[in-house]
Amino acid sequence: MSDQTLAVARSFGSHFVITANTTDAGAPVYLRPDRTWSASLTDAHAVGSEDERDDLLSHAQTQEHDVCDPYAFKVNVEAGAAVATTTRERIRSQGPTSPLRRPDAAQG
C-alpha cells in the first residue's frame, strides 16, 4: 500500500476506472481486471464501489516504475465497457481531435 493520498479526479458517472500515464512514453493507460495496463479505455476494469476503487488505486500506486501519477475517474458503463463522461477523459482516451501537423500541404 502506497503512502500517497488516493487521487480521484472530479468527474461523474456510475463506475470508477483507474488510469495513469506510462513512464516511457507518457501515454494514457487503464487498469484491466487482471491488473495489467491497457492503452484502451474499453479494456478498463470499471468498478462500482469506492472500496473497490481504492483497492485498485492502491495497487496502481505500487506500479510507479511503469506508470506515473495514477488516479481514478468516473465513467458510465455501456454494453459492458467503460465510456468517458467528460470531454477531458474522452480526448485523453482517443487522442487530439484536431488534425496533427503532418503531412505537409506542399507534400500532398
Binding site: Q4, S11, F12, N21, T23, D24, A25, G26, A27, P28, E64, H65, C68, D69, T85, T86, T87, R88, I91, R92, G95, P96, T97, S98, P99, L100, R101, R102, P103, D104, A105, A106, Q107
Partner: protein, 551 residues
C-alpha cells in the same frame, strides 16, 4: 546572434549529461515519479494528456539556420514531424519519449540551445521585440540586455524556488511590441532628460486568473544598475510574495496588495544594500556581450518601389506585400512576417520540412536567422526588398505564404484541451473553425488589423485578456463553453478585455465572433477607425445588443 563562450557551452553540456543520468535512473525504477518530477520540470519536460511535452528555450526568439535545422531533426526523429511555437517565443514538442529526451538535449546543446528554466517557479525565458535590432524607432538593441538577464538568471541559486514562475520582457523601442506591461517585470530602454541611457522598470503585470497591467516602479534606472535592481525586485518578491495560495503567488498580487509606492520603497531599500555590488554592469561587460552577437552587415541599397511591385503582381503576392511586411531601419531591406496560420493548421505548428525550408530561406535571403514572434509566427528580419519575389515563391512552395499577418485569422491559440493537462476546453478546433469561416481575404482586409487571442483555461497562455477579441475556454458542468471578451490590447496603451456577457457554447462561438466583426464593420465611423478605436469609443453596448438583443 549571440555566440556561446566556453562557460555557456559547458553549462548546457553538463546539464544534458546530468539529465541523462536522471532519466536512466527513472527508467530503471531507481527513482519514483515523485522524485523525478521536479528534475524533469527543471529541464522543461512536462506530462500532458497524451504524452510528455518538452519546452525548448529560444532566448528572445532568435534562431539561427543551424538551430532551425536541429529543431527540424528533433521533430522528425523524436516527435511526430512537427514543432509548436509558443507565445513566449519558445518551441514545444508534444510527443517525445522519455528515453529520447537526453538525446534531444544533446542535439540542442550542439547548437547552443537548451530547455533550462522553461518550467518551474524560476525566472523563465526573457522575451523581446521581434523587430529588435532593426526597428527605426529603437534607441538600442535590447537583446544584449536580454542575454545579460539570461546569464544572470540561469541557475541563480537564490531564485530557483520563487513563489511562482517569473517572466521578464525587454524592449528598446518607443513603440512597445514586446508586451512589457503584461510581464512580471517589463523593461523599457529610455534616455533621461540629461540624455543618459537607462531603463524604465515596470513591475506586476500579468494575465492568468487575475490580470494586471504592470506599474512603473522606477522611471529611470542608470544602465549599470540593471542586474542589481532586478535582483532587488526579485528579493522583495521572494521574501514577501505569497506562498500560501498559488493563485495569489505572482508578483502582480503583491504589487496590487501592497500598492506600487510601498513595493517600490521596499525595492529601493533592498537595492541600497546591493547596488554597488558585483552585479554592477560596466560598459566593458555590455560591450563584451554585444561583441558575442554576430551583427549582420547590410549592403547600401536603394528602397524598392513596393507599391509598383504590388500593382504588377498577382493578388495574393500583392496582399502579402501589403499585410506581411514590417519596416526595416536600413534602406532596401524589409522584415517579413511568416504566418503559421493557414486555414487548415493549428496556429504555431510547423513541420520538420517547413523548419528546414525556413533555415534554407534564412541562409539564402535572411542573413542566417529568424525570430519566433510572441504571436506564434516567424519573422525573417533582414530580407532585401529586391528578393521579395524569390522569397515569396519559396514560402508559397512550403505553404508558409498566408497573407493574414495582423488580421483576425492571425490568431493566437494555446494548445487547449487537445493536449494540455490543465485545460478546460479545446482551443485549436475553434481556431480552425474561425479560420474556415473567415477565409474571405477581402473581408479580412476590409476589417483591418483585429487581434484574436484564445486560451483553453484561465492560465491565459493564449493571452486572451489582451486580444481585441479574447476567447476563454471554460468548463460548464463537464461541457466546453467559451467566454467572449473585447477591447484588450498589450501595447503602449495596454488594456484588459471586458467580458461581453454569458458564455457561448462550442456551436455558438464562431457565430458570436462573426456578429462582433459585423457589428464593428457596420457601425464604425470610417474605414480608418480600427476595431480597438471603435471599441474604445463605443464600449461594449453595441456588441451586447447584437449578440444578446434584449434578453
Amino acid at each position: 546572434m549571440y555566440q556561446y563562450d566556453e562557460h555557456d557551452q559547458r553549462i548546457v553540456d553538463e546539464r544534458a549529461a546530468q539529465f541523462r543520468g536522471q532519466v536512466q535512473r527513472r527508467l530503471a525504477g531507481e527513482i519514483t515519479e515523485n522524485e523525478f518530477k521536479p528534475l524533469r520540470l527543471q529541464n522543461g519536460l512536462y506530462m500532458q494528456l497524451h504524452a510528455y511535452m518538452l519546452r525548448v528555450a529560444v532566448p528572445y526568439g532568435l534562431l539561427s539556420s543551424a538551430q532551425l535545422r536541429a529543431l527540424a531533426t528533433i521533430a522528425r526523429d523524436y516527435d511526430k514531424g512537427y514543432a509548436h511555437f509558443t507565445t513566449r517565443q519558445n518551441v514545444q514538442y508534444n510527443w517525445p519519449e522519455l528515453e529520447d529526451v537526453p538525446k534531444i538535449l544533446d542535439l540542442l546543446a550542439s547548437v547552443q540551445m537548451h530547455a533550462i528554466q522553461t518550467s518551474g517557479n524560476c525566472i523563465r525565458n526573457t522575451t523581446s521585440d521581434p523587430l529588435a535590432g532593426i526597428a527605426a524607432d529603437e534607441l538600442e538593441d535590447p537583446r544584449p540586455y536580454c542575454e545579460l538577464i539570461r546569464q544572470w538568471s540561469t541557475f541563480h541559486p537564490e531564485f530557483a524556488f520563487l513563489p511562482r514562475k517569473f517572466k521578464i520582457a525587454v524592449t528598446g523601442s518607443r513603440t512597445d511590441r514586446a508586451a512589457v506591461r503584461i510581464h512580471d517585470i517589463g523593461i523599457r530602454i529610455v534616455d533621461n532628460d540629461a540624455g543618459e541611457r537607462g531603463f524604465e522598470i515596470l513591475v506586476g503585470g500579468g494575465l492568468g486568473r487575475t490580470p494586471h497591467i504592470a506599474k512603473v516602479v522606477r522611471d529611470f534606472l542608470p544602465y549599470e544598475h540593471l542586474l542589481s535592481y532586478l535582483e532587488a525586485v526579485l528579493r522583495v518578491y521572494n521574501r514577501y510574495g505569497r506562498r500560501d495560495n498559488k493563485y495569489k503567488a505572482r508578483i502582480k498580487i503583491q504589487v496590487s496588495e501592497w500598492g506600487v509606492e510601498k513595493f517600490a520603497a521596499a525595492v529601493e531599500e533592498e537595492w541600497g544594500h546591493i547596488k554597488d555590488s558585483a552585479t554592477a554592469l560596466t560598459r566593458a561587460e555590455i560591450d563584451r556581450i554585444k561583441g558575442r552577437f554576430h551583427t549582420p552587415s547590410f549592403e547600401a541599397l536603394p528602397n524598392e518601389d513596393l507599391d509598383a511591385l504590388a500593382l504588377t503582381s498577382d493578388r495574393e503576392f500583392a496582399r502579402f506585400l501589403k499585410n506581411n511586411l514590417r519596416p526595416h531601419r536600413v534602406p532596401g531591406y524589409t522584415a517579413i512576417v511568416i504566418s503559421t496560420k493557414p486555414k487548415d493548421r493549428a496556429p504555431g505548428d510547423v513541420s520538420d520540412s517547413q523548419l528546414e525550408a525556413l533555415a534554407d530561406l534564412a541562409d539564402r535571403f535572411g542573413l542566417g536567422h529568424v525570430v519566433v514572434m510572441h504571436d506564434q509566427n516567424v519573422m525573417m528580419p533582414n530580407v532585401k526588398q529586391a528578393d521579395l519575389k524569390a522569397v515569396y515563391a519559396v514560402l508559397e512552395e512550403w505553404d508558409l505564404h498566408t497573407a493574414n499577418a495582423g488580421r483576425v485569422t492571425d490568431q493566437i491559440c494555446c494548445p487547449g484541451l487537445d493536449f494540455c493537462n490543465l485545460a478546460n476546453a479545446r482551443s485549436i478546433p475553434v481556431a480552425l473553425r474561425i479560420a474556415e469561416r473567415f477565409d474571405d481575404q477581402d473581408y479580412l482586409d476590409d476589417l483591418g488589423d483585429v487581434s484574436l487571442k484564445m486560451s483553453g483555461c484561465i492560465n491565459a497562455c493564449g493571452h486572451h485578456h489582451v486580444g481585441n477579441i479574447g476567447i476563454l475556454g471554460i468548463d460548464k458542468a463537464g461541457v466546453e463553453a467559451y467566454q467572449l471578451m473585447l477591447g484588450g490590447d498589450p501595447g503602449d496603451e495596454a488594456s484588459l478585455g471586458k467580458i461581453v456577457g454569458r458564455a457561448f457554447s462550442s456551436d455558438e462561438i464562431v457565430d458570436a465572433v462573426s456578429t462582433v466583426l459585423d457589428t464593428y464593420a457596420t457601425q464604425r465611423e470610417s474605414a480608418d477607425e480600427t476595431f480597438l478605436d471603435f471599441y474604445r469609443r463605443a464600449g461594449l453596448d453595441p456588441f451586447k445588443e447584437s449578440l444578446y438583443g434584449t434578453d
